[in-house]
């Protein structure tokens, strides 16, 4: 009944452009305020007029010359009609168009619009080029073992890498657009018969419901779609390693790629998955296990060591055995500050060094880090600002936080240290325990895509512990992690992997 109304509505926004070339030029110019960049090239033959309009910054000039202008000029016998010209153009991506806004949109993304005066419609041909850097080694997540290739800012390139890694025909890539103004392209990637439908839906719904003008990249996208935005803990992993994403996909996770973003977002990602490195997988399992435990212990100590120092030196001197107490006392004898102030000062100093190192150009940054660390650290002790032992402890906890493979999680760990130091300074061991209990409750309350954040520890999933908490030999990992609710849980047949009897 309302069909005619609906039809009217859709044509209201877009109308056919003028059939006169001069008017067409004016129309396009008035829509796109780009000045010199918008170029028109006119050809004339036997009274026919033909115009190419394009943005010179967005197109590949050689492609335009070679595949569009040359064929038209050389084929002198073809009549200049839309169909005939479309026949002779050696270009894959061609479309006929006469709506003004569609034409302008096309020109804006790097297409060339070919129009012959008097024809009912023209041709949009894709000769766009994008500026992108080549594929490089991973910078933020550096590795000893494994593929060195990293994602770049190009969505097509990233899809290419992923498709080459997984040649499964069930690998789905759904189109999404992010940002109401920027209209950035994004892809929702998952393996259809592994990934849980629920997780895919959550991602799809959350991203398509986003009403924001611009999203600066997948890290920002992750912050926008996670459930708790107040916490310091990230609830979705971003990575620049294709192999890490591949492993995640094969475990049944859901991945989001975004154009112009070198990071890739995936979930569900529980707390312990931030401490996993692809290197654990490439190493032999026993070394992987040891390294993973080292990392978890480092993160734990990194949070606990400085507060413990503050608590012990402020309130619980009795806890330290007397031989150790003597050296501690000597080293602290020159320090006029209470331990809390001392620790906060040095922690602040280390954070400052780290931040300065990250901001400065690479070479300067390294020198500054080392020299600043040693010289100022030594000077601080000599000047009686801090004790030697505290410097050791602070260095240990700084190192510990840097072992975390995820930079965001490492930063979170460093940040939560400060309130714990304050609590330790006020209430000693009780203060540390209060913080500890708080974080336990806090982590229990968080969720990742609706699933438990502390999985597989709580709720306890024995089989999954081999993936995220421990590393076990591969023959015991026949099932995909239950945390991701995979549809096809089986990775390989247990029967075949079974050991044979003696002399069989």
């Amino acid at each position: 009944m309302f069909k005619w109304l609906a039809g009217k509505k859709s044509t209201e926004g877009s109308k056919p452009h003028s059939l006169m070339i001069d008017e067409l030029k004016e129309q396009i110019k008035s829509q796109l305020n780009v000045g010199e960049d918008l170029t028109f090239r006119t050809l004339k033959r036997d009274g026919d007029k033909l115009v190419f309009s394009y943005m010179s910054s967005l197109i590949d000039t050689t492609a335009l010359d070679e595949f569009i202008i040359t064929p038209i000029q050389e084929n002198t016998h073809t009549k200049w009609t839309c169909e005939a010209i479309a026949q002779i153009l050696p270009i894959a991506n061609l479309s006929a168009q006469n709506q003004l806004d569609k034409v302008v949109e096309g020109i804006n993304v790097g297409k060339v619009y070919i129009y012959i005066e008097g024809q009912p419609y023209g041709i949009l041909g894709d000769v766009s080029k994008t500026v992108e850097r080549g594929v490089e080694k991973a910078e933020t997540e550096s590795l000893v073992y494994g593929p060195k290739i990293a994602f770049t800012e190009s969505l097509i390139g990233n899809m290419n890498i992923l498709r080459h890694n997984i040649k499964d025909i069930n690998l789905c890539m759904e189109d999404l657009t992010v940002g109401t103004r920027t209209k950035t392209k994004a892809k929702l990637v998952y393996i259809k018969d592994i990934a849980d439908e629920e997780n895919v839906n959550v991602f799809r719904e959350k991203i398509s419901q986003l009403e924001i003008d611009y999203v600066a990249g997948t890290t920002v996208l992750g912050q926008l779609i996670e459930n708790n935005s107040w916490t310091v803990f990230p609830q979705l992993v971003t990575t620049e390693l294709p192999d890490r994403v591949t492993i995640a996909l094969m475990h049944g996770k859901v991945v989001v790629l975004m154009d112009r973003s070198p990071d890739v977002l995936y979930g569900p990602s529980p707390f312990f998955s931030f401490f996993e490195s692809t290197e654990d997988v490439y190493m032999r399992w026993n070394m992987g296990l040891a390294l993973r435990f080292l990392r978890l212990l480092a993160a734990f100590l990194s949070v606990l060591l400085t507060p413990a120092y503050v608590a012990v030196l402020t309130f619980h001197y009795e806890v330290i055995p007397s031989p150790l107490l003597v050296s501690l006392g000597q080293s602290r004898a020159n320090v006029p500050f209470p331990p809390m102030f001392e620790a906060l000062l040095l922690e602040f100093f280390i954070e400052l060094l780290r931040e300065a190192g990250a901001r400065l150009p690479t070479k300067v940054g390294q020198t500054m880090g080392i020299v600043g660390g040693i010289v100022i650290g030594q000077a601080a002790v000599n000047a009686g600002f801090t004790s030697n032992i505290l410097i050791i402890i602070i260095a240990l906890s700084a190192l510990g936080s840097f072992t975390t493979p995820s930079y965001i999680m490492g930063t979170a760990i460093r940040m939560i240290r400060f309130p714990i130091i304050l609590l330790a300074g006020f209430w000693g061991g009780i203060g540390i325990m209060i913080a500890f209990c708080f974080f336990i409750i806090h982590l229990l309350k968080l969720d990742t895509l609706g699933g438990s954040y502390l999985s597989p520890v709580y709720p306890l999933r024995w089989k999954d512990l081999g993936y995220s908490f421990f590393r076990v030999p591969t023959q015991y990992l026949s099932k995909r992690p239950l945390t991701n609710h995979p549809i096809d849980a089986q990775r390989f047949s247990v029967q075949k992997a079974k050991k044979k009897d003696v002399d069989e």
Binding site: E318, V319, P321, I441
Partner: protein, 373 residues
Amino acid sequence: MKVDLHPKESLLFNAFLLVFIIHSVQVGVGIIGLPRIVFLNAKHDAWIAVFLAGVFTAVILWFMIMMLKQYDSADLYGIHADVFGKWLGNFLSFVYMLYLTACFSVIILNYIEIVQVWIFPNLPTWQLALVLILLAVYAVHGGIRVIVGVSFLSATGTLWLLLVLCIPLRYTDITHMFPIMNVDIKHMIKGIKSVTLSILGFELLMFVYPFVKEKRRALFYVQLGNLFTTLAFTLITLISIVFFAEDTLSKVIWPVISMLKIVRLPNLERFEFLAVSFWMLVILPNICLYLWAASKGFSRIIKRTQKMGIWIIAMIAFGASFFIKARYQMNFFTDMISKAGFYAAYCYPVILSIIVYLKKWLSRRKQSHAEPS
């Protein structure tokens, strides 16, 4: 009020987590002083008394599960309404809520007392009470899933404390426990009764039961949790008996912490400082579960939100922390709760389950009479 509480599917937890809930809620502040209290009555056979108390608890748990099984998925509030009707039932529920609230605050106050004695003598009670109550409020706002998580992590995270108790074992004299079984029945029963406060907490089963996923297997896991607690308590009591000389045990108020005093690591002495701080993790599930169960009454009986209940109970408990000042008041308060707990957790569920059984039996008989006619 609906008798059956049918929680959402996503709120249910696996039955095997009951092991941790029952265990973590039974272990609390009581265990620190348990060996002495039992020793005062049952002398060197105290460990037998503790073990028998555990067995006794197992029987009570069986009664509870039998009662809960009569319903589809009801908690104590629902059963009260079903058995005693609206007015009497709600009154009894209200009394039980008061008991749970009292337990909530007595646990917090007991812990604060230990902290004040061992670490910070000048720490004002209300400060630590405020923080602990806020922690519990924060946890309970997350609902049953978070609370079960807290009890799971607390139970698994504090297991190593049992291993630490092996260190005092080196300084023990095994002859302290002989002759076995020469305490008369009267003292033994007194001893068993004095275990009540420490082993209390299992009555919360009547509140978490609707949230168990596989209700058929609840009994097994509940008994497993209780068994574990019983064995741990018996072991701790046994170690205290053989560690302390005859009369010393009756003179130290918190024998477990005193025993931990001798633990020394290369870089750590006076282990009890660590243990007392760490004990917060042990009592955390207790206070969370008590607060949760008590505040649940607000949404079940009075038809208000549970959030409001949480804050009201928190305020009451915080107010209570100002009234307890001296040791003798604390003792009096704890004894009161201990007695109340004996009736609320041991006697009452048995009586209630018999009533429920009778009621179901009568209604079934009525039905079978009604059918032929």
